[in-house]
Every structure is written in structure tokens, then in C-alpha cells.
Assembly symmetry: D3
Homo-oligomer: 247 residues x 6
């Protein structure tokens, strides 16, 4: 059972962190393959970067040469999942959705703690669009950017714990979802500090993908996620020089 875990940014050390988290969460029969997209941004923190990553992740997956059983898009709340679902018949799992689903199984209300304030409306909209927002009482920002997480994990943990505590005390959260793929690996320390369940989204994505594979469930091809019809695309896949053959 092989699962592709695709980082949404181009920072290889982040891909490695995600890979470690995914392996820690995976079952004994699962092989985790972590991919870094060939184009994009070193961190995805706005819609522009997220759309670029959407295409880059699809590109990374369709050009991956080996067979696989499921794909995990390891960016929290990024664009692109339905595109992946159309291109594949294997399950394609979004880590924000997986994490929200586990959180809803553990308490009556959950909050998301993410990095930057500017991402808050985007994450709210993504969860609402996925039909998983009703039990979310807040999306809060810890006030650091994605790459800060890597450089100073201790400060990151402290900032996340502080914001999560507010979510619990002021918003009524009973479960915390870490709202960034780059927070993979921090859940335990935060849970120790808070005494509240903390969901690592990469880990959530892994168990959800394994669950779907185990049950033989595949993406529905009956309507909106059917395989795109063959067309003369220009510049796809991205690997070859994009503009050469274009008019």
C-alpha cells in the first residue's frame, strides 16, 4: 500500500518533516512517498500561491512514475483537491478535511489554529465549502509564518498553545486542529500543554487515506469528478518547457 504525500510548497526540508509525520501515523503495510512540487512557492500563505500550488501538486502527481494507492495533499486548506480527484481514481485526501473530520469525532466544537491572520478567511471558506465548518467555533492565527515553524519550533509551540487556549476558554473549542501542514510533529507537545485533543492534519490525512484504501473505496466517477475528457491542452503537464509548442 503506497501513499503519495505531496507537499504544497517547494521547501524540501518541509517535505521531509511532512514525510516523518506521515510515517509516524501510517500503518505497518504502508509505504509513504513524499513529493515536492517542481514549481511554486517556498511557503504557501495566500490564494495566489495556493492556486499555483494546486497546479504544481497535480503536476507532481500525474508525472509520478510508479503505481500508488492514494494521494494526500499536505497543505492545510489549499486549493486543488477536486482537480486531483478528477485526474485520479485513487482516493485524494485533503488534510484540512481529514483533520476536521477527526476533530468532529472527538468533541462537540473544534477550533483551527493556523499561522498568519490573512489565512483565516481562506481557511474558513475552505472548511465551509467542504461542508465541515458548522462545528468549527473559530479559526485563529498564531501570528507566525510557515517558515518560522521550522526555524523555531519552541516559539511556535508557545504561540500555538496560547491561541489554542483562547479557543478553548473564549470560543468553547473542545478539540484543536493544527491548521498548517508545516505544524506536523507539534501536536503532542501542544496536547501535553493543553490537555485537549490536538489533531495533526498530516497524520489525519494518512489514516483517512489508509481507511479509504482498506475499504476499497475510490473517487466517484459518476458526475462532477469524472475523468476530464482528452483535450489538446497547452502547457500541461508542466514538466516540459511550457511555452515552446504554444502558438
Amino acid at each position: 500500500l503506497r501513499i503519495l504525500v505531496v507537499n504544497v510548497n517547494t521547501t524540501a526540508t518541509m517535505t521531509e518533516g511532512i514525510r516523518q509525520s506521515a510515517i509516524a501515523a501510517s500503518g505497518p503495510d504502508t509505504e509513504i512517498v513524499a513529493l515536492t512540487p517542481a514549481i511554486g512557492s517556498p511557503s504557501v500563505e495566500c490564494n495566489f500561491e495556493s492556486y499555483l500550488s494546486a497546479v504544481a501538486v497535480m503536476d507532481a502527481v500525474v508525472t509520478y512514475p510508479e503505481p500508488f494507492d492514494a494521494v494526500i495533499q499536505a497543505g492545510f486548506g489549499e486549493h486543488g483537491k477536486e482537480g486531483l480527484q478528477e485526474l485520479l481514481s485513487q482516493p485524494a485526501v485533503d488534510i484540512a478535511e481529514a483533520a476536521a473530520q477527526l476533530a468532529m469525532s472527538l468533541g462537540a466544537r473544534y477550533s483551527v489554529v493556523t499561522t498568519l491572520r490573512r489565512a483565516v478567511p481562506m481557511l474558513e471558506d475552505r472548511l465551509r465549502g467542504a461542508g465541515l465548518f458548522e462545528r468549527c467555533v473559530s479559526v485563529r492565527a498564531a501570528g507566525m509564518n510557515v517558515l518560522d515553524l521550522e526555524e523555531d519550533p519552541k516559539a511556535a509551540i508557545a504561540a500555538i498553545v496560547e491561541e489554542a487556549r483562547r479557543a478553548v476558554d473564549e470560543d468553547g473549542a473542545e478539540v484543536i486542529v493544527l491548521g498548517c501542514g508545516g505544524m506536523a510533529g507539534l501536536a503532542e507537545a501542544i496536547e501535553d500543554a493543553l490537555k485537549v485533543p490536538v489533531v495533526d492534519p498530516v497524520a489525519a490525512g494518512v489514516v483517512m487515506a489508509e481507511s479509504l484504501v482498506r475499504l476499497g473505496l475510490r473517487t466517484s466517477k459518476v458526475n462532477s469528478l469524472a475523468t476530464p475528457p482528452a483535450k489538446d491542452l497547452v502547457g500541461w503537464p508542466l514538466r516540459a518547457p511550457v511555452r515552446a509548442p504554444a502558438v
Copy 2:
């Protein structure tokens, strides 16, 4: 890893069917223990029976003498999950919620096909209450009762397929959720007929419970699901003299 799968009705053959489905869905390290409640109804098809089963399931679980890692309430859309969550720190999984979550991972819209028409508002309300109803385009009834499923599975499959096809053609469903614990084991035949992913709720409950256990996630005790304070309860647990004079 031991998971309790608790039937919501008192029909032992149904418990056995659920057990078989749960085993088929479970991982190699999982031991499935199926319980039949000591009180209740031979099939749960209305709110009255569902409330009775809520208490009966809690009773069965709290009087189970061995350690376990998670509980699955194997009735689709029945009452009681939050009670179980309060009484336990292990994860307590509702099969309707688990099934809806998997369905939402596989297509843009899902439908539930259940047994009797009278259950439709109850199931709609339960899924809405769980915050998982937004992508549900219909709850349809195949027009048979729970025990019919056992007696004539072929007719049951035909009736479910017919209603599921309407869900796909008329309502825009891309995934079908089987809306009854007693439909465990029918998913494959229905999926073969429909060419649409079909989610077996008992199987969904098993993989969801295993997922939570694997990640070490437990029910939040921080607010609404905290352990009930000790009080002088009358008539709880139910086990002892309840069964003596019953018919």
C-alpha cells in the same frame, strides 16, 4: 487493539452480521467484540426505540468487563453517542457520522438510502445535528423494514439499488451511504450494480475507530463531554433485575 461494536437492537443474528462486516473491515491487529444490548427492541425504527437503545447501548458498554480501545455504536442515526462519549475516554464512533465522512471524501454530493420512510426526517436531523448534512442531497427510503433485510437480502439489494439510482439520477448523488446497520455486507453487490461508491456504515465505523486509536486520539474531556460527576443514580446500570420478569 480491541474494538467494541454494539448493535442497537436485541436481535442476535443481526449482531452477528454486524460482527462479520466489522471483521471484514478491520485491520490485522484489531479484535472485534460485538455486543447485543440486554434491553430494547428487536429492530430500531423510530425515536422511541432509538432512545431505549441509547440507554441499552450505554449499559452494554459500561458493564462490559474487559478493557477496550474504542466503541462503535452500530445503529445508523440512533441517539446516544454523546452519552457514550461522556462515559468513556476511548473514542466512541457513530456509524452514520463515519459513513458520511467517508462519503464526503469520495464525491461532491452523497445520498443516504435507508429502510423505512418514517426514518427519513430522523436521519436528516441526526446528520444535520452532526454538522455533516450540507453535502447530502437526499435521504431516501427503500421501503422495507430492518428485519426484511435479513430475511430477503436479494430483494433488499434490488430495492436499495433502485432508490440509489434515483438518488444519482434525480438528486445528483455521487456517493451512496447505506443508511442502516443491518445493511452491513450489501455494499459490494450494490456498488457492482450502480458503479458508484457505496459506503457500508459499519465498515466506515471500524476504520474511523481504528484511525482514532492509531493516532492516540481520545474524546475531549474539556467541556461538554467531560465524565459525568458521581451522583446517586436510580436504576443504573440497567443490567441486574431488569430482565427477570420480561416476556
Copy 3:
């Protein structure tokens, strides 16, 4: 015209308080009969206790030997109303719903003030499930438990007034609903302090039940609330030997 008012807990003094409130609210032709369930908890403050009370209230009602015209379930936001509705053709009124309906007739926004914080998500979910939550701007907790209400009504009033004032000033509430059956009788004092309409849920339940009876309206038996079909139930009704060891 006889109305059963069923306490959800086993505390007889609480039943008496509820009875007094119900009598004060009832019309000249109404006979109030207050029942205490045979099993359950001395106070209902969590889902587990609430499910237990759901069954206990149904048991108390179906074993009541005299004819009656309506039933009031006198727990605020407890489980079980649809079960009662199925078992009876007389109206079965939930005091939380009745209170919310009166509150919505008196102002543009209302808030609920209940006892313990842990009940807040449960009450929100119950009102949302009843389709009566949209104009509710907050459910607030006064920070006392149910039995405190009885022991020190003055302190209870002060705490409720403080929280209700916040609801008015910060949340924009124009009407306050007392969110606990045990608060019956406190409305007047709180209204005096706040100068805002305060709805006593037991009183609301009584006038709502009388209204339905007066108009000859009965629970719909056309679909989801139809009388449960006869089945071989085990352990129902609960009355007989259950209470042997109880006081």
C-alpha cells in the same frame, strides 16, 4: 383538561417547584399533575443523564394510569421529546422549544441563560435541531449546578441576572430565556432586575400545551411520529423490578 408535567430528574422537591410554577401559569380549567420519574439522576446535567431521563420520562408517562390531555417534558433541552410524541397522540411539549417560541414573539433576538458551561453546546444543538436557533444570539452559563438553584435561590438570581445582563449588553439579546427547568419561579425577580422580558420555560410549556389542547391539535401520525409498531421489547416498560433496590 389535565396536563402531565414530568420532571426529568428524580428529585421530588424539584418536581414540586415545577408543579407550583406550572399551576401558576395554568388556566382555571387545567389540572396539573406533576410526575417524578422512577429512575434517573437527581439532576440532569449531561448527555448521559439526559438520555437516561428520556427513557425515564417515557416510562413515567406510559405507566401513568389516568387519562390526560397533554404532556410537558420539564427539562430544558433534554433528549426524548420525539419518543414521547410517537408513544402518544396527545401533544407533547418540550419546555425549551416552548420558551424559545415565546421569546421569539417578544423581541428580535434572545439569549438563554443556563446553569453549567458544559451544557452550552448541548442546548445550542437542541435548539438548532428544533429549528429555533437562528434568533438566539447566545447560550450563557451562570456557573452553578441544578441543585444549587434550590439551595440558594438568591445567589442563583444574582448570577443569572449578571449573565443575562451580558447577553443584553454584549450579545444584543432583547429577551432572556431561563435555560433550566429548575429555574421555574425565578423569572419575575430576574425581570424586575433587568427590565427585559424573561421567559420561564415551565410556564411557557404550560401555555403552549393548553394552546394545542384548546385547538384540538394532536401530534401528527402521518410519518416520523407515527405510533411505534408492536414488537417484543425487552425491559420495557421499566417500572416493575427495576426499582426493587432503589429507594
Copy 4:
């Protein structure tokens, strides 16, 4: 206890029908006073007429010379209730809201059957605005206008029964609300034909108003429904010739 029941149109025979229905629904101590507005339309079937009636009803009420305990606006889904609530401290009851509230107490889903198709969006919006639409599965039109109801009640009943039956069979309604003040008095015949509870909105308004009065509840004056500050209004009240002093 005196209740004003204000017709929204200028047809005196309709006022008389409403008065009869209100009396039939009222308690022994209640005096029903039915008012016909001095301006407006012989039947209210669109927003323009409804806004005109809103002002006309307020005018009729503020110029009524005797004391009273509550007001019922006897148009189904018409504009103006919040205006009445501001002008009065006595309860002001909207018959659509009252009927929807009773309907929600009797079944899991309700439908409204009104007169003309053009009123459907208006009624949907009014119920949604009142926060009472979630359990409404359809608003259906019987295809007759308001005055047809008076002229040929038998045909009206047949048309309403037909549409109500569709609401039950196709939409899942368990309770029917008659969606027009002019349908007062038809409920019993329709209920006999359908075997489903049918709510007469004028009767619902009466019991709701009596309920509020009995409990001493009055319109909240704390924020949005506070008494309008005294200002130099032109043309109000409408009774005196409107334009004389105007420029």
C-alpha cells in the same frame, strides 16, 4: 382580556370571518375585537398591498380608543409586525409565526398551503426572516385568490386538500399550515380529508396572544423594538386628511 384582531384588507365580510374564527379559538375570558383598516386593498396578495396594509393596520391599532391586551395581525406573512411591536408594549402577534410555531410542535416537518403562486417567495422569505423556516419543507399555492375563498369555500377546500396531499406525499410534510387569514374556518374540513393536523393561523394567533398575556409577557423595549422617539411626523396617523398640511 381584550384582544384586537386586525384584518389586513378592507373587506368587511372577511373581517367578520376572521372574527368568528378568533372567537371560536379564544378562551372564556377573552373578548375579541375585530378591526378593518381604513385604507388599503380589498385583498392583500402582493408586496405593494402588504406594505400598504402594514401602515393601515398600525393606523387602525393606534387609533383604537379602548384599552386592550394584545394585537393579532391577521394577515399571513404580511409586513408590519415589528412596527406594531414598537408602537405598543402589549404583545403583537403575527399569525404566520404563531401558526408555524404550533405546527413545529406537532410534527417533524410542515408545509404551508397558500392562495396564489406569486405569494410563495414572499411567504418563504417572511418565515425565513422570522427564523421559523428550517422545518418547513414547502410553501405551496392552491391557485385561487383570496376572495375566491369566500365565494366558493367548497372549491377552495378541494384545491387546498389536493395541494396539501402533495405536500404530505411528495415533500414529507407532517403538518399543514393554512397560509392565508382568509382560510380561517376551513381547517376542520381539511383535517378530516387529510388525517393530518391542520393549523388555522387565526386560531394560532389567538392562543399565542392569550398565552403571552396570561404570563404577563410584553414586547421587549430594550433595543430594536423600543418605542419610537417622538418626532414631527407628516401624515400620521392616517385618519386626518393626509395631504392638507403637507407642502
Copy 5:
């Protein structure tokens, strides 16, 4: 291209301010005609006044003797737009809706800053009723009344800026809508202070009306907004002495 801009109150200086704002926003081919209603209140700050203004605005429009291409109802969140739409085939634009639509084009979340706190629920309900509330994160009141705006614009600007800043900092607003027709002309100063887009509702109404006229779009007459059928109305239009012919 002639557009009627109808003030909702009877204060002529306010009409003049609205006219100036409308002219400033209008295109070179547009003639702005500003009307003051013949009846009503010098400022519209509650539902009663708003309903009165609804009728007064309709009266002013139907008695306007010249041809015109569109009408703008220049009160923020007032009642009556659907009535105007029924009476006319030309577009009738509500300034609150127009402003909300422009705001939603400029940022992910918007807030409204209005005059008095009592108007907040009314504005929330109007925007929700228009289907434009989902991206509104708050309606805030600057704590002044409508006529204060005219008397002391500097103080008004300061109070609005303060409240708007809270909307941005605490509620996450990215765009501010001025929630009162009388705030016309203040947008620029507020935008300079805040560095956030500020939408003037009168200006929004003008460009929206011009847009509809340019594209030849007219109010739909197919169902709910069809022209009211001819009936014997009493007291309409309001110009003639209302009560003369009445009984």
C-alpha cells in the same frame, strides 16, 4: 437616462445631500432627480418609521409625472423595495443591497457601520433577507442618530472611523459599508483615515441602477414581482385626502 433617487425621510436638506452624492457618482448621461416623500418622518430610525416610509416612497414614485429609467430607494435597509419593484418595470435598487454587493467584490468580509444600536438587528435581518449577509462579519453602530450626521459631520466621521476600525481589527472586516443614506459624502474621509475600501451606499445605488439600465435589464414580471392586479384601493395614492370616500 433619468434616475429617481428617493429619500426615505421628509428632511429636504437630507434629500439635497443624497442628490449631491448621487450626482457625484453618476455618469455623464445620467440625470439625477431627487425626491422627498410627502409623508413620513424627518429621519427613519425604526421599523414603524420604515414602514411609513415604504408607503411614502412608493407614493412619491407613482405620482412622479415624468418618465424615468430606474429608481433608487435611498434609505439603508428600509422596507419597501419589493413593493416598488411590483409597481414598476424599471429597475428599483435598494442602496443597502447595492452597497453590500460592491463590498463583496472588494474583500473577503465586510462590515456595516450604521447610526443607532437599535437599527442593528433590523439591518442584519434586511441583509440576510436579501441573501447578502453571509460575508458580513458585523453590523456596528456609531451611536449617533441620523440628524446628528448632518449637524456635525466631523464628529460623525470620527465616530464612524472608530467603529469601523474595530470592525477591521476585531471582526476581520476588509471592506466597510456606510449603513445610512445620510452618510452620503463621508466615504472619502473615512477611507483616508482607515486605508480600507469604504462603500457609500447612495453611490453604490447609482452605479448599480445605471448598470441595469445600460444592459436593458428590467424587473422580472414572471411571478412574485408581477404588476399588482387592478383593485379598488382605499386611500391610494396618498395624495388625495385619504379618508374622504372611506366608510
Copy 6:
């Protein structure tokens, strides 16, 4: 005043049709510049193609060498608008949102008629995500693909009219929105056949963009749509050969 109208697919004849429609809708001072993206699909009919087009449209806009005042993304319901908004300070208008806003100004309910059934959930989700879905009663598919529109406009009109008629008769639509940029130019013929207002989305986008420019309104830079911080992006903009410097 120069407005960029960006086709989302690579078919130049379609760009030309969109340009003609945009010119027809634009004011005398507006210069319309129509762009075809350098990469992408000849028609955009699924999420994969839509994400690809999102990046292609951004690429086309950021590499456009001349100054401009607003951008219109001329694909109905495609991804990418928030990315454009971040990259620009000029207004960026989505034609689906603009069309829905105009439609909501003309009737109580609207429907969208698009090309293929598979697009329906995508369009529903996009409109819901934009907060403009509440008054949409249906998204219907005419059963043709995008390029069919160009090849056989008569057949296209007939199919759209048929589906639009159902929207009016069965769903209660009062206004029709053409749900595809490629339908530009068909509105008049469809409106003639239906006698219902029909909104051309490209035209709607033009008047909305002009409106924002006229009022000097620009995209909010205060939070989620702030300009992306400078980062070392790989493969952006797309014009240069993407993969050369990668690996």
C-alpha cells in the same frame, strides 16, 4: 478607462466572442482588451481545467504590459479570483458573481443554466462560497459542451430556453443567469423566447467592473487579499520555460 477581459480557455474565437459581448456592454469611455491565456484547455469544463486556467489567467494578467483599470475573469464559476485580487490593486471581477448580483436585483429567485451536468456541483459550490447562493433555486445544465455553443448557437439557444423554462415553471426562478462565458451574446434571443430577464455574465462583469472603477473602489489590501510577499517562486510567471532552472 481600460478593462482587461480574460478568457479562461485557449480558444481564440471564444475570446473574440467574449470581446464582442464586453464591448456591447461597455460604456463610451471604456476600452476593452480581451486576452487569451498562454496555457490551458480549449474549453474549461472541470475542476482540473479550472485550476489550470486560474494560473493561466493570473499569468496573462501579470504579464500584460500596459496599464489597466480593472480585470474581468470571463469564466463562469472558475477558480482563481482571489489570486488575481491579491496580485492586483485594481478591481478583479468574477463574471459569475457579477451576474448573480444583477439577477438578485431583478427578481426574488434566480436560476443558472450552464452547459454540462458535471459542472452543476462546482457552480453551486462557487456561488455558495461567494455568499450569493441563497436566492438561487437551481443550477441546471442544457446538456451541451462549451464548444457546441460556438458551433451551433441555434441549437444552444433552444436547449437553454428549454432548461430555463423548467427553472421558471418548476423551480420558481424569476431571472435566468447564463452560466458560461461562452454564452455571451445569446441573452437577447433567450429573453425574447422566455419573457424573463436573462443576465449575460460577461456583460454583467463589464458593468460591475466599470461601476467599481467609476467610484474609485479598489481591492482591499487590509487582510486576506493583501499583496503576496516577495518570495523565490519557481516557475512563475509561466512565460519563461518552466523547468529549466528547477530540480
